[in-house]
């Protein structure tokens, strides 16, 4: 369905307004880096950014699912609990401080994410639960795949600031910031990290460990 839909769009829209972008983010060794958050923000402040949406951060087997959620500014996120145990979700990140009551079953009302930036989530009952909500004010955003690639079929041509962040990068700051120009016929970009990312290793341990 999706390619057909895009072809349909391409026929209707003027070509200059729908340029494909293919981006790959690689480390200093040239290998693609997966699971990074990519945002594209136009340098033209008058251009509208992505509209708020409704998103879900679930809790399954004492883990947040997904581990990283990227949402436009002003979005609402609901936190269902698919576990049989109670959770108590909170964040003390300056971008969005909140706390939900201890609950199982029916989730509390959605949380509004009204400030741009990185929000670290925790559970007050299960200290090992950790996840991130990345709140963006940008025209385009997404995450790189296993090869470090990310693509958008119809980027509006123009100048953009690209920011790349990795949840295991030991920093809340982007690991790469760069301004690029997307021409009317699209672009294929390879962005290279300036220094090794030295990512943290993700825990391989069962989620009911470290209760002591």
């Amino acid at each position: 369905m999706r390619p057909v839909f895009h072809t349909f769009l391409a026929l209707l829209a003027p070509a200059a307004l729908a340029a494909p972008l293919q981006l790959q983010f690689v480390g200093v060794d040239g290998k693609g880096i997966a699971a990074t958050v990519v945002t594209l923000r136009s340098t033209d402040a008058a251009r509208p950014v992505a509209k708020p949406t409704a998103a879900v951060m679930d809790q399954v087997d004492r883990q947040f699912v997904p581990h990283v959620l990227v949402i436009p500014l002003g979005s609402q996120v609901v936190f269902p609990n698919s576990d049989s145990v109670a959770h108590q979700v909170y964040s003390f990140s300056p971008a969005n401080k909140f706390q939900l009551p201890l609950y199982r079953g029916k989730p509390p009302p959605p949380v509004l994410f009204g400030r741009e930036g990185l929000v670290t989530l925790g559970c007050n009952i299960h200290d090992q639960m950790r996840a991130y909500v990345y709140v963006v004010q940008a025209q385009y955003f997404g995450r790189t795949d296993a090869e470090g690639s990310w693509s958008v079929a119809d980027v509006e041509p123009g100048e953009y600031k690209i920011e790349i962040w990795h949840p295991l990068s030991r920093t809340v700051r982007p690991v790469l910031e760069q301004t690029v120009k997307i021409p009317a016929n699209g672009a294929r970009l390879t962005l290279r990290a300036a220094a090794p990312l030295r990512l943290r290793s993700e825990s391989q341990l069962p989620s009911n460990w470290d209760v002591y």
Partner: protein
């Protein structure tokens, strides 16, 4: 009423209360955990310390065959205002002083952090933060069936029965690399701690002494059923501890313990002194990204009872454990060294002493969400001078092979 009757009534109230609480919890909004650990055992161990011998193993050469490892029922429930209640009940053997008894039970105040500083207050009976092996619910070691000598002793003789406050700084939630915390606790009812170390020495097993239970041990004149959790001198003890954790996977812990026992105070009803026990412990744990874990711990302390200068012992131990996960399987290997010394005696050649080391190999397999299988081979090489009193050779090399089937709710 004599002491025995009072004690029996106390136990009945606590256990009935705990079971009532769990039943209430099962109907109200509580979280219940239940598990059963069945063992197949083959051992050439000397008469076990649990039977009044100087054997180092929980199961000796009379215990081959099917055994109950542990049956456990635990509950946790929110009681409002950031407070939670926890209770952990276990049965270790049908021949124990109480068939079902409490290993831990505490109330916890756990406010939601509004900054990187996080507070936690516990009141009740719980483990001091020493073990880096016991990561699974119910203070269970997921690497090997038997714990290291160090953490076996923690399970046998230590429990913080009092109040503990912990302050943590969760730097990693702010994009930093370091989490750290400090804890201080004041406790009572841990005056006999040290008696097993002095009279019996170290062991490697998985049994935890229940709060109202006994530990079988050697005594002149035959086996004795000792009470470990009792207040004798009415002087509170304390421990202070701290941890630091880098990038969520390299953790260092240290603890200083002093039960501030007054060794001249004797309690007739349990036939024991307030042992004056101090120790320092430290440990390191690293969880690598490819399922590798390394744990090393060290403990060094001393204990004394009575005003007799010969009733003094020093003890120390260390171990290193290496584990590697492969999907649902995990292989673990551990090497322990341990030692106890009586410090003063009329005849230096006859001071009581113990030296030993142990190798443990474990394999665990998470068959299913509710089924785990674990096997363990354990070899303990020890020399204990007091074995001569039983007409045994002081040196013993004991082995056991165990297969554990663990079913959990």
């Amino acid at each position: 009423m004599n002491n025995r009757t009072v004690r029996t009534i106390e136990q009945a109230i606590v256990i009935a209360g705990a079971i009532a609480g769990l039943l209430f919890g099962a109907t109200a909004h509580a979280e219940i955990e239940a598990s059963l650990d069945l063992r197949l055992v083959s051992s050439d161990g000397r008469n076990s310390f649990l039977d009044g011998g100087f054997g180092k193993l929980r199961y000796d050469n009379d215990d081959d065959g099917l055994q109950l490892g542990r049956a456990r029922l635990a509950g946790r429930w929110a009681i409002g205002g950031d407070w939670h209640a926890n209770i952990d009940l276990s049965a270790w053997s049908l021949h124990d002083h109480n068939a079902i008894d409490v290993t831990e039970g505490w109330l916890e105040w756990r406010p939601v952090p509004t900054s990187a500083w996080k507070s936690n207050l516990k009141i009740g009976a719980f483990y001091p933060p020493i073990s880096l092996e016991h990561r699974a619910p119910g203070w269970t070691n997921p690497y090997t069936i038997s714990s290291s000598a160090l953490n076996t002793w923690v399970g046998e003789e230590l429990r913080t029965i009092g109040i503990a406050y912990e302050l943590e700084h969760l730097g990693t939630a702010e994009g930093g690399r370091l989490d750290y915390g400090v804890e201080a606790a004041v406790f009572g009812w841990n005056d006999p701690a040290g008696v097993e170390m002095a009279l019996r020495g170290w062991s490697l097993n998985d049994r935890q002494t229940p709060l109202f239970g006994r530990i079988g041990t050697y005594a002149y004149g035959g086996r004795q059923q000792r009470v470990i959790f009792s207040e004798i001198d009415h002087r509170p003890g304390y421990h202070v501890s701290g941890y630091a954790r880098w990038d969520g996977n390299l953790e260092l812990r240290a603890l200083h313990y002093d039960n501030r026992g007054d060794p001249e105070v004797y309690k007739e009803s349990i036939e024991d002194y307030a042992w004056d026990t101090h120790f320092n412990s430290a440990g390191l744990r690293y969880d690598g990204g490819r399922g590798t874990t390394v744990i090393a711990q060290w403990l060094d302390g001393d204990t004394a009872a009575d005003d007799d200068p010969t009733m003094r012992w020093t003890f120390n131990t260390k171990f290193v454990l290496l584990a590697q996960g492969f999907g649902r399987h995990r292989l673990s290997a551990r090497y322990d060294e341990f030692r106890v010394r009586q410090t003063v005696g009329s005849n230096p050649a006859r001071l009581s002493r113990e030296n030993g080391n142990a190798w443990t190999l474990g394999w665990s397999w998470a068959v299913h969400e509710h089924v785990d299988v674990m096997t363990e081979w354990l070899r303990i090489d020890s020399l204990h001078s007091a074995r001569a009193a039983l007409g045994e050779a002081p040196k013993a090399i004991e082995h056991s092979l165990q297969l554990s089937l663990r079913l959990s709710l």
